[in-house]
């Protein structure tokens, strides 16, 4: 198989609050022979605040990056972050669908956009192009005995007409990849239920309730860990887990991984590359349990 190669859009949070996602994504892709070519001088996609303010502004902020990717000669942009994915895809789809809209966007940009590249999540490429089988072949430290729930968040596969990936109600891509890595995936019924998204700062109460519900359900199912694919979800469940516990009078201590970290672990990548030390809830007890429970049983 020829080497897979894509333009890569890391997203702002990868430089800060989700740096472990960024590190582990890069490490994993390198190990799987996927070439991520970072878009030079990429800028913020605008995220929710931009599309909540204006659709043309939002498309322009995202569009600048699509233009830069097209200048690289790439026809597909990968991003690990679902929020970036939504914005980049929305911008692309609307500009492709309406010349009038595209013109409005171009009016805001220094360089008008010509060709509009495709945008996909890193997860989609791993699942569709490499496949669970391709991942399984490279697993050297299977996650046997690790019981996980996969949490996709609300916008990784929704709305289906925009995302065109996996199932909008019961996505299975991460499940299959986790199973390929040897983990046991528990049937989590709230895979796409919102965690509270960006309301952590302004309306923490909303996040406490929504993320609390997710953690309660994961705990009840007997999960050792939650696996995520979204910086915002991961932050709400991991960094804010203490806040959730005090708000809801619970005592969760559930590690919340990025799926890239666990896949990297199964592939035997060095811990330092996976940023496990960046997680707030200590993941080591769960990771040390790998392989042991099965032996006991």
């Amino acid at each position: 198989m020829s080497k897979l190669s894509y333009a890569y859009y890391p997203g702002c949070s990868g430089q800060g609050t989700s740096m472990e996602y960024e590190m582990s994504t890069r490490a994993l892709c390198e190990a799987l022979d996927i070439d991520l070519k970072e878009i030079p001088d990429w800028s913020c996609c605008g995220s929710t605040p931009a599309h909540a303010c204006d659709h043309v502004l939002s498309a322009a902020l995202s569009g600048r990056n699509l233009g830069l990717a097209a200048d690289m000669g790439e026809d597909c942009v990968l991003t690990p972050c679902p929020s970036c994915l939504t914005n980049l895809k929305n911008a692309g789809q609307h500009m492709s669908g309406s010349e009038e809209f595209k013109e409005k966007v171009n009016k805001l940009l220094d360089e008008p956009i010509g060709e509009i590249p495709d945008v996909k999540s890193v997860l989609q490429i791993l699942f569709e192009d490499l496949g669970p089988k391709g991942v399984k072949e490279k697993v050297i430290k299977p996650l046997s005995g690790l019981k996980v729930v996969t949490y996709y968040g609300c916008i990784l596969t929704r709305p289906p007409k925009l995302m065109e990936f996996d199932s909008e109600e019961n996505p299975i891509s991460m499940d299959r990849l986790m199973e390929a890595a040897g983990a046991k995936v528990l049937p989590f019924p709230l895979k796409t239920e919102c965690c509270g998204a960006s309301h952590g700062v302004a309306r923490k109460d909303l996040v406490m309730k929504l993320s609390g519900k997710l953690l309660d359900m994961a705990e009840q199912l007997g999960a050792d860990a939650v696996v995520t694919a979204c910086p915002l979800c991961q932050m709400n469940l991991d960094l804010r887990q203490g806040q959730v516990n005090s708000a809801n009078k619970t005592s969760h201590k559930l590690p919340v991984f990025y799926y890239t970290q666990l896949l990297g672990w199964a592939l035997g990548l060095p811990q330092a590359q996976l940023g496990l030390d960046k997680l707030c809830v200590n993941p080591m007890p769960a990771l040390r349990g790998i392989g042991k429970k099965e032996d006991a049983a």
Binding site: E168, N170, L190
Partner: protein, 653 residues
Amino acid sequence: MKIGVFVCHCGSNIEGTVDTKTVAEASLDFPEVTFATDTMYACSEPGQDGIIEAIEEHKLDGVVVASCTPRMHEPTFRKTLERAGLNPYMFEMANIREHVSWIGKDREANTNKAADLVRIAVEKLRRNQPLTPKEFDINRRVLVIGGGVAGIQAALDCAEAGLEVVMVERESTIGGKMAKLDKTFPTVDCSSCILGPRMVEIAQHPNITLYAYSEVESVSGYVGNFEVQVKKKATYVDWAKCTGCGECVEKCPSRKAPDPFNELLAPGRAINIPFPQAIPKKAYIQAEHCIKLTKDKCGNCAKVCPSDAINFEAKDEIITEEVGGIIAATGYDLFDWTVYEEYGGGRYPDVVTSLQYERMLSASGPTGGHVKRPSDGKEPKKVVFIQCVGSRDKSVGRPYCSGFCCMYTAKQAILTKDHIPDSESYVFYMDIRAPGKLYDEFTRRAMEEYGAQYIRGRVGMVYPDGEGQLVVRGADTLMGTQVEVKADLVVLAVGAEAAKNSPQLAEKLRISYDAYGFFMEGHPKLKPVETNTAGVYLAGACQGAKDIPASVGQGSAAAAKVIGLFSKEKLKSDPQTALVDIKRCIGCGKCAETCPFGAINMTEFRGQPKAEVLETVCQGCGLCAATCPQGAVQLKHFTDNQILAEVEALCRF
């Protein structure tokens, strides 16, 4: 030729946007038109009398009526001409209603267009020849496709009227969906108690031949003389010998076969008799699950069968039946609800369909009529019904209302209380559709007497709470908020869709079907059980979702149509058939190959091969005329010359 033109007002339907008087005046300038007038309602009795008077007074020998669609009134006016002593085929219609007045508002443009359409009709009529229909015999036997309640009603009505009936049923028993139901609304009478005797009548009626586990393979011929190939699928049981004792079913070790009659609620056996009242009560083997047929082992059934009826060598069989009329009564199927991933998509055992719930309620069902949840066999105390699953939902391609779900859900809520007195039922609905006799009262009873909680809103998601119950999260739009109910069992009121392979059957029958696969009736109001193919009729849910009373009504209606058809001494063929100009025909045979009705024979004339049209078989579709490389085949009244004359009339500048 002297042509008369009659321009109809159709009340204000045409006159509202077309100046009919001006159209009539303009018509007088068209060739051979010697009389023209406008008329209030051409189809009314005075209207027709006016045409007859004009024919006599002005010695007309052809008539053009400019009014509505020929689908409706061409037969009417042909009869008018006949009464006036003219050949009924010296008549043409210009449709200035559907094609003009209803689609445009510009009176002047409409008037001009209407005049053009009359001009076209006149040019065609000038080239018409008097035609005489041929008469042919009727085979007074009728085929009923589908043995559900609609087909049963149709078959029995026909048989009682003395007709020979052939019934073809896809499953191994007749009874259809109704046989699976526990009780029926709004009377809550036992479904199998009222249907069972009718099924027995089918089996016992001397005029009825039943082919169960069979399908219609192909249909040829035409009204009065159809030839039907029926495929009798191999059952691997000689039904002449099988007594339906059930010994074989008892001893069958293949216990994971599907049990379609019980809606896959519980596994069945590879050899099976669907239910105790099955008609015919005969065993059949599901080949792909039979150990003998797949692995050449076992053969238990053959060993225990007291009448030596098992035959593993059986093959599908094709039988030919000749009939004069056909009634399609193929019913419906349930929408594949598993596309609703938000309701579990089939992953949660305690989310069942309404039809599965009927089997749970039924004494002949796998739980013996005790309601038990599939997951753990416990009796549910809180049952949530979700309506409109696969109905009124554009996002799954089912925008239509299935019509009967509101009613059966009310019935199931009532029965739930009867079965489990300390249970509570919740019904999520959008609108209650209960327009039948005693229907609304029935849904009220579910609420008022049986305490069913009706909640107005759709359900967004169903998920297990991890403690053995299901969380149903919906909306109560009347209360104006989100609501959650913890349920032990969730019943989905799954909507109806066209029976599997309906389009394929429609094509065999040469009838139309809609975008969803339901068969099209001849006219939405006036021909509800007819189709656009003569001799083929519809009954029941194959035409669109309907409940038992409506299906039975249609069964009788379709039977009446067949009885009416067969009451004629002979049938008349439409004389607008194809005609071969023997001088031009080169005998290539392309027309015979292309004719979908087998209406063209190749013969010899003075040693040359020539095509010949069988007038009573020809349906006048014109395929042969379009195919003939010599222009030797012409369709009477649609000849090349006529069509060219029409085009020239339109493009005269």
